[in-house]
Amino acid sequence: MKKRVLAIFLVMCGLMMVVAVVFADLKKGYYRPAELGSLRQTALIELSPDSKYQVSAYPVPGADLVPGDGRQEVQTYCNTCHSPIYVTMQPPLPAATWEAEVNKMNKAYGAAIPEDTTQKIVRYLQAHYTVENRTP
């Protein structure tokens, strides 16, 4: 009986060592703050079929969440898995789509955002990122 316990213990130790070895020096998930867009794309210059040939320079962007009630909650909760650029990258979306997206984060991805905070986040996105109200 004692031998069997010892054997199980040794096998467990062995397994743990294998796991430890595989992950010994795997470093991941390191990100650093950075200035957005020192190398921004430029818009097409207005081309007209005349005789002038010109090129334009490359300017600098910046993307941040619109100030408003709920912004802090988006930054706190959504930021666990992804940065807020996942919001600003989207095209203007219907209000119902924003609600569905936040619900997906809770249900499919297990975000577990408290119910009242979820509502606040949905309202914030619907107040600033739909066709009716999104500003450049």
Binding site: V18, V22, L26, V55, S83, M89, G110
Partner: protein, 432 residues
């Protein structure tokens, strides 16, 4: 004054004289207006987002960003990382590693991998589980090389109408590389797949902050044991003859020729043979397309739950005009060379055609070198704009299965499978 100094200064005098006489001559020949300072071109930043209409640009609209081992690429998202390859990198059949697009799903992606500890593990429903180091992969198995296009399922998602949420890619979520590595089949044979096995599951090093068992914790993809594509899969440790950039899946990634990139697991570390169907989020819910021609449906049918879906698989035929790209004008009468690429996940592209009359008539382009059925195929065509004005060029490809690019859009909730004929406006200016 040394001899060298003297000769330098003498050379300098000649140079100065040359510049002066050249300048005077040029000024006299051209007259003052052509070389005089013009009104500055009014420049403004590209828009920070597009929509609700379709993204009118070839690429997405994000700023450039410099990531490790990469030239400046177009930023879609920073964490997890999604970067798009700018259009001009597609002039060649093989996309440079440093310009190759990037798409991760979860934020925990490798910064460091210690090859002393790293092992590719083949486990699950097998007779002999394996743990292979990189040297073992390189030395114990015959290396094979294959050119194959890696295209994100959501490439060109920003074209869809109505727009759908997700990574708002332009056309640059694709790339072609020469992949070198070990045949997946050989690894599975050595491990000995047990009878009754259903699928082979692939897991890389990326992990997320979500709870265990959910898609936000692990990214897992599977292919059926009987899928013939397994015979063509490679576990690649070289990309264009170079180690893979960390952001493209160092130390090894799965290559699934002809299939969308969702199956090309980056930093592949676990190959797991399953005896029950993989029902994880990334197979059962995500990366699925309507089981309809072209994967096409509409928001109404989708909302009503009338759409049966299946996992996405092969790349539909596509072609692109890479240059001229519409950023500058072409002088009328100048003979130029249209350049582009084409590919299909169903076999070789054997025809590329260009139309300048909106698709009424098509002229054949010349195809570049054949690097195999799953590679980009470059194409070119001599073209002269006879008159000043705005010309629209359309390009379409046909693959060896006879599939030709359609001139109708596609719509599905995931924003997948866009392969409509591409168009480019060319502004032709007066030449005198």
């Amino acid at each position: 004054m040394s001899v060298a100094d003297r000769s330098f200064s003498r050379r300098g005098i000649f140079k100065a004289l040359g510049v002066m006489t050249g300048g005077i001559t040029l000024g006299r020949w051209l007259g003052s207006s052509a070389v005089a300072a013009q009104e500055p071109v009014q420049t403004k930043a590209i828009e920070t987002f597009t929509g609700p209409s379709a993204n009118p640009h070839w690429n997405s609209v994000g700023p450039y960003v410099a990531e490790p081992q990469k030239v400046p690429l177009i930023l879609l998202t920073d964490r997890p990382v999604q970067l798009e390859t700018p259009r001009h990198y597609f002039r060649t059949a093989f996309t440079p590693n440093e310009a190759f697009y990037v798409r991760w799903h979860l934020e925990g992606i490798p910064n460091t991998v210690d090859l002393k500890d790293w092992k590719l593990q083949i486990e699950g429903n097998v007779n002999n589980p394996l743990a292979l180091s990189l040297p073992e992969l390189m030395q114990k198995f015959k290396p094979v090389s294959l050119a194959a296009v890696n295209q994100c399922s959501g490439n060109s998602r920003s074209r869809l109408q109505p727009r759908v949420p997700g990574g708002q890619w332009g056309n640059g979520a694709m790339g072609n590389a020469m992949w070198t590595g070990v045949r997946l089949r050989e690894l599975l044979e050595v491990a000995g797949v047990k009878s009754g096995s259903l699928q082979v599951q692939f897991q890389g090093l990326e992990t997320g902050q979500g709870p265990k068992g959910l898609g936000s914790n692990l990214f897992l993809k599977s292919l059926d044991v009987g899928n013939p594509v397994l015979d063509e899969c490679i576990v690649a440790y070289l990309m264009n003859g170079e180690p893979l950039p960390m952001l493209n899946g160092f130390p090894v990634r799965l290559v699934v020729p002809g299939y969308f990139a969702t199956y090309w697991t980056k930093s592949l570390t676990w190959i797991r043979v399953l005896n029950s169907p993989d029902e994880n989020f990334w197979m059962k819910t995500a990366y699925r397309i309507p089981d309809t021609p072209r994967g096409n449906t509409n928001p109404e049918d989708m909302k009503a739950g009338r759409v049966k879906t299946v996992p996405i698989e092969r790349l539909p035929v596509r072609s692109f005009l890479i240059w001229p790209d519409g950023t500058s004008k072409i002088p009328a009468g100048m003979n130029i060379r249209l350049q582009g690429i084409a590919f299909s996940g169903f076999g070789r592209v054997n025809r590329v055609e260009v139309s300048e009359d909106g698709g009424k008539t098509w002229l054949p382009a010349e195809l570049g070198e054949d690097h195999g059925p799953y590679s980009f195929r470059t194409w070119g065509m001599s073209w002269t704009a006879k008159s000043q004005g705005r010309h629209t060029l359309a390009v379409r490809a046909t693959d060896e299965k006879g599939s030709v690019q359609p001139d109708e859009p596609v719509w599905n909730a995931g924003g997948y499978l866009w392969n409509m004929i591409e168009r480019q406006e060319i502004v032709v200016g007066k030449a005198s």
